[in-house]
């Protein structure tokens, strides 16, 4: 495994990801963990594993991204998630388009040129209602496992409208809907719709140029994908590892040495 030429680490709000790439920029090794409160110790451990499991050398080029990027002191450079996501997704699909990344703590829409450059971006990091946290919160409130959330929502025959735009107030709205006997699946579907509508507004504000790509942990949710297609009228394509796009991009930036 000593063919690893560069490493990228993405320290998000929910998960920490590390990716190793070979000389062609292909992802050849990766790890994904829940993020821990002692981030620096976690980063240290991830590097130790990169050395032990993937044979990464001490002086391997390394770039860090994500909210915790400044804590990865081993990294030669810190680069924002915007640039890294664009780089990662461009490497995978080889063209431009619009990337939507829905993470645990923020969401972003990035328009990418045919040559892989960021043309425009917008971020939602002020309000949890457009992020994975919105679904996480409601999933726990409704006692539905996170991984089944999308399927449950899609199984609904009808859809309830959730009007609260705030995660916390949406929760109390959900409680009162349950009290009114509204089926769980219909509420779930409504919650997904509410999230996707917010995301769609973001996509529109950067100008949707197809293909529409989706990354981040929430990309694993089938209902979000489908509804995003319904709302935008564009087919949504997914990378092989939606959660690793940022870390992969960071590794590519590291390899390019800029």
């Amino acid at each position: 495994m000593s063919n690893i030429k560069a490493l990228g680490i993405d320290l998000g709000s929910t998960t920490a990801k590390i990716v190793g790439v070979d000389g062609d920029g292909q992802m050849v090794w990766h790890l994904l963990e829940q993020v821990e409160p002692r981030l620096e110790a976690q980063v240290e451990r991830l590097f130790a594993r990169a050395r032990a499991e993937a044979g990464a050398s001490e002086d391997i080029p390394l770039v860090a991204t994500g909210y915790g990027r400044r804590l990865a002191r081993q990294a030669a450079r810190q680069v924002t998630e915007i640039t890294c996501h664009a780089r990662g997704i461009f490497h995978e699909f080889g063209g431009g388009g619009t990337l939507v990344d829905i993470g645990g703590q923020d969401s972003k829409a990035i328009r990418i040129s045919p040559k892989g450059k960021v043309v425009d971006f917008t971020m939602n990091d002020k309000c949890a209602a457009g992020t994975g946290r919105f679904l996480e919160n409601t999933a726990s409130r409704l006692q539905v496992p996170l991984e089944r959330l999308g399927a449950e929502a899609l199984s609904a025959a009808e859809e309830t409208s959730i009007s609260s735009t705030c995660t916390v107030f949406a929760e109390s709205e959900v409680i009162s809907l349950i009290a009114h006997g509204v089926p769980l699946e219909a509420i779930l579907r409504g919650l997904h719709r509410s999230l996707v509508k917010r995301i769609t507004a973001m996509v529109r504000s950067v100008g949707l140029v197809p293909p529409l790509m989706l990354s981040g942990g929430v990309a694993q949710n089938e209902a979000v994908r489908r509804m995003l297609e319904e709302e935008t009228g564009e087919k949504v394509i997914l990378p092989r590892y939606p959660q690793l796009v940022g870390a992969h991009g960071a590794a590519l930036v590291a390899m390019e040495g800029r």
Partner: protein, 440 residues
């Protein structure tokens, strides 16, 4: 009592003015030996800066010791104050005072005072700072003289109408309102006549409060001084076209204080004449405000008063200089409309025309012109939670700047005075992503 007042005034001002002058000399002698610090990405402050500080200090010193018999007016930043100056009013500007509180990091606590009294947090943070200061009596400038008259002009927003009504009720003094019809596309003669008549009607009210009659010649003098200061300010701003830019909008945000709150004064004209010379000198010597200027940007909307230095340095580190802004331009672009031969007509023509009283398309046109004139590589549009009239339309303006000028543009969410509506981590993240996007 009157003797005591006189003693207090002359003693206080003499001492205060001397102290300010000494502070200026000290700062100037330090400034002369100042060279760009090796680690600093920004040029040393302008030599004129100690003088600015002295002017602002003097302005508020006079507020502490108002001349016996002199009347005090509180006015909005875009109000036609020339007729009040001609009547020897001492003019205070709650918005400027708010900005001072903002830069001195005192606004948050004053806003809280207003909120505790029941004012909504959605209200403009200048209004909350001012109302909080009035209610609590707290201010970092020592003391604000009580107004005898209030003048609100709706050419900047409608909030001032309600804000000044609060002040009128609190102080129990007359409020003069100048209502300026909004200019969607073109201004009609009727609109001008409407504003002019209101100014004409305001003069007798101000005369009655002041207990004196306005002299036409004095008004002409004041108008001429206003015009000259604004012209010089416009000239200074235009020097930003130079590469590297001799001064940034962060400098302008501070240096604009006199043209806003001391227009109509001879010393203000002298001040800007001296500043223009210094800026010319910087150009002649090739001094740029940012080391290795690589990108030049536009700033739209009010400053983020409590983070000026941070933003200047954060951008400066990447060789980015913000060289033009719609905000500082607002006090220069109307200079030619001020007419000293027919001051009242001139005031009507001028004060109906600020950027905030014109349609969003007009602001876009101004920005596009700036992008071309100043050779700009991008734009930052501060979406100011407090200033709705300035922020409305920015989504479209951003999109059109990108499409029609081919430059990247960033919408930055913050608030001009309330740090609780500003998150540094997220602002930094957006700025960094924007900087990377520009390929710096």
């Amino acid at each position: 009592m009157s003797l005591w007042n006189e003693l207090r005034y002359y003693g206080g001002t003499a001492l205060g003015l001397s102290a300010l002058r000494v502070a200026r000399w000290q700062a100037e002698s330090r400034g002369r030996s100042a060279v760009r610090q090796r680690e600093s990405v920004l040029a040393p402050p302008l030599f004129i800066s100690p003088r600015t500080k002295e002017l602002i200090g003097r302005h508020y010193l006079k507020s502490r010791y108002v001349k016996p018999g002199q009347k005090v007016v509180w006015a909005t930043s875009g109000a036609p104050i020339e007729f009040l100056k001609a009547l020897d009013y001492y003019v205070l500007y709650p918005e400027n005072h708010g900005a001072v509180c903002g830069t001195m990091r005192r606004a948050e606590e004053l806003c809280s005072q207003a909120e505790n009294a029941g004012y909504s947090r959605d209200l403009c943070s200048y209004a909350r700072t001012d109302i909080g200061s009035v209610l609590s009596g707290q201010t970092p400038v020592g003391h604000l003289a009580r107004p005898d008259l209030l003048l609100a002009c709706t050419n900047i927003c409608q909030t001032v109408l309600f804000w000044y009504r609060v002040l009128a009720q609190h102080f129990g003094v007359p409020l003069v309102l100048i209502d300026t019809p909004f200019i969607y596309t073109e201004v009609s003669p009727h609109d001008i006549a409407f504003v002019k008549r209101q100014i004409e009607e305001a003069i007798p009210v101000a005369e009655k409060v002041a207990g004196r009659t306005m002299e036409a010649r004095r008004l002409e003098e004041v108008a001429l001084l206003s015009r000259e200061a604004s012209q010089l300010w416009a000239e200074i701003i235009a020097r930003g076209r130079h590469r590297p830019a001799p001064l940034s909008v962060f400098d302008q945000f501070i240096q604009m204080a006199p043209v806003v709150e001391m227009r109509g004064e001879a010393f203000t004209v002298d001040f800007y004449a001296a500043m223009l010379k210094e800026v010319e000198l910087r150009i002649a010597r090739g001094i740029g405000v940012v080391r290795n200027e690589r990108k030049r940007l536009l700033w739209d909307n009010l400053p983020i008063w409590y983070r000026l230095r941070y933003l200047a340095e954060h951008l400066g580190l990447h060789g980015i200089s913000i060289v033009a802004s719609t905000y500082t331009n607002a006090w220069g672009e109307l200079a030619e409309r001020i007419d000293s031969r027919d001051p009242i007509e001139g005031m009507a023509q001028t004060y109906i025309y600020p950027i905030l009283n014109r349609g969003a398309g007009d602001k876009l046109a101004t920005m596009k012109r700036m992008v071309a004139d100043f050779h700009l590589d991008g734009a930052i549009l501060h979406s100011d939670r407090s200033c709705k009239p300035y922020s409305i339309g920015q989504m479209d303006q951003r999109e059109r700047l990108m499409r029609e000028c081919g430059i990247p543009a960033l919408l930055l969410e913050a608030d001009h005075n309330d740090p609780r509506a500003y998150t540094e981590e997220q602002v930094a993240n957006r700025l960094d992503a924007f900087i990377e996007m520009m390929g710096v």
